[in-house]
Symmetry: C2
Subunit: 257 residues, 2 copies
């Protein structure tokens, strides 16, 4: 049997509400899909359900824009209340142009709107607009989900929380890892030899991002959204101390800041 | 049965030599792995075997550096013959620092060394060093492979040629598509509604890059390299006119050039 990986999206995952017990929902969905976790499995969870369970919904009407947000709104034509949240979530505004704000999130991710989502966020009973921030600490969320699932199943697994980011140079967004537990997000091949005994040139592979992208193929963004995906058969380096911050290139080593 | 994708690496793929009939080698390997192509399959082929079959190996001893390459060598500490090839393959040198050259390849890819590989390239009988350039026209290579496989099997498939690129902001390289045939590399979700009827914010997904990254999980970079990967069950938009150039962000729309 040749080496293979299977990627399975959990069908029928419920709409998540603030305060929901996300690991319990995942365990229920695994059972409903007749899936049993096995050692080495990777569970990829879209950040939106993590953020919702953690109550990271913000009602725009409750946000008072700062003068800085008002200035950014004049520059970009975007909602100043939304930009106030972008500023609060960011370390730095990296680039702007009309209709677009690229920010460095406090966690280090450089992406549009500090990763704040307006789509796939329900309106409140009040008819007001809500937006969704990233989880407060996505690595901690991943660790919590992993621990609960491991306790319930006895399997040793890895958990990735993913989001969809655009990137420089290339058109189209793709899945990336913003929280990890149990696996080294970057596989270090330094010192390994290639087919002909040369030392590897490309020595670091962003395994967690490749897994996040693979899961994204099934998660979808629209009404058929399936936020939880099980990946089986992928090779990764186990790491109990892993953090997705290992995927952040330090500013002083980045030629494109 | 929940939605799922399988990713299978063809075992025992032979070392490719200049002039080899790559589609014939792929058909042999599919048969040896007891795999039959089906409608909707995506075959991901590492560029290295395409480049080798197309004879894109260059002996460094045959390369005479230009004054520009010599200057770049003094700046970066790299081999001036290698840099001469980087310059020939590039439209522009985008960034440099000691030990590193980021170039815009003629096809639009912005990556280290204009995507020229030194690892996984055999030494010649003469003991000299060879390097491997990208295929001359990766889309044409993908179309040729697709056509031959479709003629031989009767299945309607897509073909992606992938490479491994680093990127700004994030640590670690990952699989990306540099040639496509039969599928839209960017899935356009514009106009689709999300779960709650909002128009999508993230409207373009780089499906070909997500598939390229998923395949990369099994291809490996080292002695266990498996250059040909079959992906089954992925949803994509068929496109007979597709080109990987659709993944290149036009310079005037890029905030990080």
């Amino acid at each position: 049997m040749p080496a293979h990986i299977t990627i399975t999206a959990l069908d029928g995952f419920p709409l998540v509400q603030p305060g929901d017990d996300l690991p319990a929902l995942i365990l229920d969905a695994l059972a409903a899909n007749s899936l049993t976790l096995q050692d080495g499995d990777v569970l990829v969870v879209a950040h939106k359900v993590v953020s919702k369970a953690e109550g990271r919904l913000i009602r725009l009407a409750d946000v008072v824009p700062s003068p800085e947000a008002d200035a950014l709104a004049r520059e970009t034509g975007k909602d100043p209340r939304f930009l106030e949240l972008v500023l609060r979530e960011s370390r730095e505004i990296v680039r702007t142009r009309p209709g677009l704000v690229i920010a460095e999130h406090r966690h280090g991710w450089i992406c549009a709107n500090a990763a704040i989502d307006r789509s796939n966020v329900q309106q409140g009973d009040d008819g007001d607009d809500y937006v969704l921030l990233l989880p407060k600490d996505p690595d901690a969320s991943a660790r919590m989900i992993r621990q609960r699932l491991q306790e319930a199943t006895g399997a040793t697994i890895a958990v990735i929380i993913n989001d969809t980011h655009g990137r420089p140079f290339r058109i189209g967004a793709m899945g990336v890892a913003i929280g990890v537990a149990g696996l080294a997000p970057v596989s270090d091949l330094r010192g390994e030899k290639d087919l002909f005994g040369y030392t590897m040139q490309t020595s670091e592979i962003a395994t967690a991002d490749e897994l996040a992208a693979a899961a994204s193929l099934l998660q979808g963004q629209t009404a058929q959204g399936r936020p939880v995906v099980l990946i089986r058969g992928a090779h990764y380096q186990p790491d109990e101390q892993a953090t997705a911050r290992q995927l952040v290139r330090p500013r002083e080593l980045d030629l494109f800041r």
